[in-house]
Amino acid sequence: MRFLFKTDYEDDIKLIPHSGYVVTYGILLALLLIAPYVLSSYLMSQLVFVCIYATVGVALLILTGFTGQASLGHAAFLAIGAYTAAYLQKYNVPFPVYFLAAGLLTGIIGAMVGFPALRLTGIYLVIATISLALIVEEILARWESVTNGNEGMRVKTLSLLGVTVPRDSPTFYYLCLAVLVLTIVGTLNLLRSPTGRAFVAIRDSETAARSMGVNVALYKVKSFAISAAITGFAGVLFAHKLSFISPEMFTLQLSIEFIIVILIGGTFSLHGAVLGAIFIVMIDPFLTYLKDDMPGIIAGVAATFGASSATAGNIQSKVAAFASLNGLKGAIYGIIIVLFVLFEPLGLYGRWLKIKLFFQLFPLYKRATFKRQKIYVKSERNR
């Protein structure tokens, strides 16, 4: 176990507390850089989605994790970014311009959503953001002159400085990775400066934040705008990755997936966004695998335990029918959220910290170390 001896105020500010971080994150970055030359094209494609989802996850963490404003409307921000890119592409706007324009426009819309959200907290804010998602989805379907309606829009291959970057090329992956890394670094910078601390202050006690001179309304709007803008950037990459966008891709389910990203990853650290993104991107092929293979496996097990071939076939078809039920995926997502909130509220990153501490303190680790102690319960709060 390493003990840090701080000798300078710089030690409280710097992003890399000690040399161990350089080694571990350096190795991680090196692995990510050589990934395109090692991994299969399928896994690379998944990795690109991990980068995009993690970027949205970081955006959502800024708003939900650090400012405490829940949002189920991030699919709408993603859609706005994606459609801005697709629309501007029609007029041969170069990539850097429409990339920035998409972020800017989404940020402005995010701020506009932030204003009415100032008076809402908790569940009411969630409902307001859900309605945002529904409204945007509807607009995308109806505003045919711009969005092409339900027929969707084709997104041309990305062209960066005269070089075409196909969606499955290593360059596109590096682009997504760069956006993710820049987002994370920017967010870390924000969190160690007054704005980030004001966000956290608003999350934990608006009254106290206000009496310390934090303009709560302004910072909430800022948080919405930053979060939306980052999601807008991710939306551009998302559109390029899919090469075709239509309104039914940006449904409420996508917003829920983003919430899952941060809930499962852990809402208290940016690590959570990345871990959650890996989880959500990898669970989809896993569920597909279960859906395809589980009926056969269950029937096989039944046959081994002496079921006749007719019964086994019957079981197989019934399980297959169950596995292809509509909305089963949503139900599984729901169960995953409930289980995580109940049994692992700190998320995957919290679990990782516990495992790490177990080995650091071995054999002295106690299970209660991470248990939150309620020494003092607030009796009354100024709201």
């Binding site: 601390r197 004001a198 303009n215």
Partner: protein, 252 residues
């Protein structure tokens, strides 16, 4: 003109007059205590000053400026800091970041500078950090710098709240029951700190307090309230002997 002044301050909740035409003035550099039975309107006055409530009528002046209509976050920018009766700390943040929020009114950096963490931001962060360290030293909070608030005992939290208010380098500090929930030693410490704040930092103190021994030790003047009205005003000894005050406390 007085340093801080409340004129005919009233706060009505429907028919209930929580604060009823209260006028008082605080001189620069003094420690003024507000005492009174439960529900007398002491905390309501604080919440009026820090603009959590909007006064039904009356005006508040600070340094000859009318602050009655200022938005709540501007009150802190003017140099009025406060603590809360039922501790309002940022539970899931470290002590250090709680105290740094206290520095918020002095932060001048822009959002884009912070995103890039430019050298100017780094420099101003170090200034904030140094100021916070001075307060940490003053209030003996060294062992807790990197601890989360949610794991700290009540007495320490109370001190951290005082520290957070001091970090904003206030001109006037509002202490809402600084000794509630503290044991005898902690209350002693608190009384020393309150006097230090006055003598070393030159802070003017307005304090709501129930512990009469603390009030006697630190206050220059005392105001007694009951049912939202001022009963008596004067030196601690005078107020305690005032017949209306005795009646209010003993029910005679």
């Amino acid at each position: 003109m007085s340093y801080f002044r409340a004129e005919n301050l009233s706060l009505h909740f429907g028919g209930l007059k929580a604060v009823d035409a209260v006028s008082f003035a605080v001189e620069k550099g003094e420690i003024l205590s507000i005492i009174g039975p439960n529900g007398a309107g002491k905390s309501s006055i604080f919440n009026l000053i820090s603009r959590i409530y909007r006064p039904t009528s009356g005006r508040i002046f600070f340094e000859d400026q009318d602050i009655t209509e200022q938005p709540p976050y501007d009150i802190a920018k003017l140099g009025i800091a406060r603590t809360f009766q039922n501790i309002e700390l940022f539970e899931n943040a470290t002590v250090l970041s709680n105290l740094l929020v206290g520095r918020h009114r002095h932060s001048t950096t822009q959002l884009w500078q912070e995103l890039l963490f430019l050298p100017s931001v780094r420099a101003s962060e170090k200034v904030h950090r140094r100021r916070v360290e001075q307060v940490i030293e003053l209030l003996d909070l060294e062992p807790y710098r990197d601890k989360l608030i949610s794991g700290l005992p009540y007495g320490v939290r109370k001190v951290i709240e005082l520290a957070r208010a001091l970090c904003s380098e206030p001109k006037l500090i509002l202490l809402d029951e600084p000794s509630s929930g503290l044991n005898v030693e902690e209350t002693d410490d608190m009384s020393f700190w309150i006097r230090d704040m006055k003598s070393e930092l030159g802070v003017t103190v307005l304090m709501v307090e129930h512990d009469m021994s603390l009030v006697n030790r630190v206050s220059d003047r005392v105001i007694a309230l009951n049912y939202g009205r001022v009963l008596a005003m004067g030196s601690p000894a005078e107020v305690q002997q005032h017949p209306d005050v005795v009646a209010a406390y003993l029910g005679a």
